[in-house]
Each structure stands twice: as C-alpha cells, then as structure tokens.
C-alpha cells in the first residue's frame, strides 16, 4: 500500500468513524427520549441527541483539512485545533447526558412504589 493510499484510508476512517459515533449516540438519545415520554422526567435526551454533533463537526473539519488545499499552516493548525475542541466539548456533553440518564434509570430500577 502506498503512502497516499494509507493517507486516504485514514482520512476516510476518521470521517466515517465520526459519523458512526454521532449515529450511535443519536440512537442512544432516542432510547432516552422514550423514557422521557413515559415518565415525563428529564432524561437529557435532547442533549444526548445534539451533543454528538460535535463529533460530526470534528469529522467535517477534518474533511476540510484533508481535502481543501490550504497552504497556510497556521490556518490548518487552527482548523485542527477547532476540530479537537469540538470533539472534547462534544464528548464532555455526551458524558454529562449519559450520566444524567443513567442516574434516572438507577432511581427507576430502585423504585418501590408511591405507597
């Protein structure tokens, strides 16, 4: 495999995995939304469904970085830094959303009845 082919593969993998992570969290958000519908309690499903967008933005910025011919290394670095920042913020929000939903689930699993 040539260096260009490996480069093309890693670029595609980065972008595809970003999209798949986003989809995985989105589906999890849909599960949380069902609990919200039934129990009318905050499951942070909105956050769970929107937070992974950061991962998608990360992928998009990486596409821009890899495909656009940006000559200026400073702009390239800025683009990469922004992509990483989106990844971090997105992951933090996902973690927060999941922990909240998990907390609600735990309380429901320990529920003994209203009387």
């Amino acid at each position: 495999m040539t260096e260009q082919m490996i480069q093309a593969y890693t670029n595609t993998a980065a972008i595809l995995s970003g999209i798949l992570f986003w989809a995985g969290f989105l589906v999890f958000g849909f599960i949380a939304k069902r609990y919200n519908t039934v129990f009318n309690k905050s499951t942070f499903h909105g956050l769970l469904m929107t937070a992974p967008s950061g991962i998608l933005i990360y992928s998009m910025l990486m596409i821009v970085k890899f495909t656009m011919v940006i000559k200026d290394p400073a702009i390239n670095n800025m683009l990469q830094l922004t992509a990483y920042a989106f990844l971090l913020v997105s992951a933090l929000l996902c973690l927060f959303g999941i922990s909240k939903f998990s907390g609600l689930l735990s309380s429901l699993l320990k529920y003994e009845g209203s009387k």
């Binding site: 798949l20 969290f25 589906v27 990483y84 920042a85 990844l87 971090l88």
Partner: protein, 132 residues
Amino acid sequence: MKYDVLLYEAGILTLIAAIVYMGFTLRKLTAVVKEKKLIWLLPMAAATVLAISLGAHIYANFSLLPELSAKITEISSPAVIADQAKTDIIRASIQGFKVSLLNLKTVSFSAFLLASILLLISTSVYIRWISK
C-alpha cells in the same frame, strides 16, 4: 507543549469515559427488557479499542515524533552534512520513523472506526429490541 495533541487526547479520553458509562447504562436497560444477550459489552469493547487508539496516539506524539525531530535536527547539522555515510544512516532512520508513524496512524484510525461501529451496533440492537 503540544496543546492540540493534548486537546485531542482529552477528547478521546472523555469519549472513552462516556462510552464506558453508556455500556453500564445499556446493561441496566438490557435488564429492563429481560434480554440475556450481552450487548452492553459492545460499548466496553469499543472503549477498549479506543483506549488502544489513544495509546498509539500518545506513543506517536510523545515518543516517535520527538525522536523524529531530533533526527531531522541531526541531519541538518554541518557535521552530518559533511559525512555522506552518516547522512544515509540518519535518512534511513527517519524513513523508518515515518513508516512507524504511518502504521500507528493506520492502527489508531482503524481502532477509532471499529469502536464507532461497535457502539452503533449496540445501540441499534437495543432500539430494535424495544421497537418490535
């Protein structure tokens, strides 16, 4: 200090934590629907694979890249430029580092891709269970 690298690694580390938490949550959810299948292990596997990817990234950025920089600095020194044999050895060494870095990059992104696939499978299987 490479802030962008640290930012990326912090992002992946947080993502690993989120996925592990998701695995435990999925375990509770599986108990609710009384399914015996261990789909909650898929996010755990995804987290492990991501951790490997992170390890590769750390190794590349904090071990291989500094060594590669040192070699590049070395090859540009007047003493090495004057010595053709030394130049050839260092050039070969630099090429070796480049191959290693490329391999690590491939492993890292493959792991990233595999982790995302595992995560999507786990949540998709669960939502299929509760949509029948």
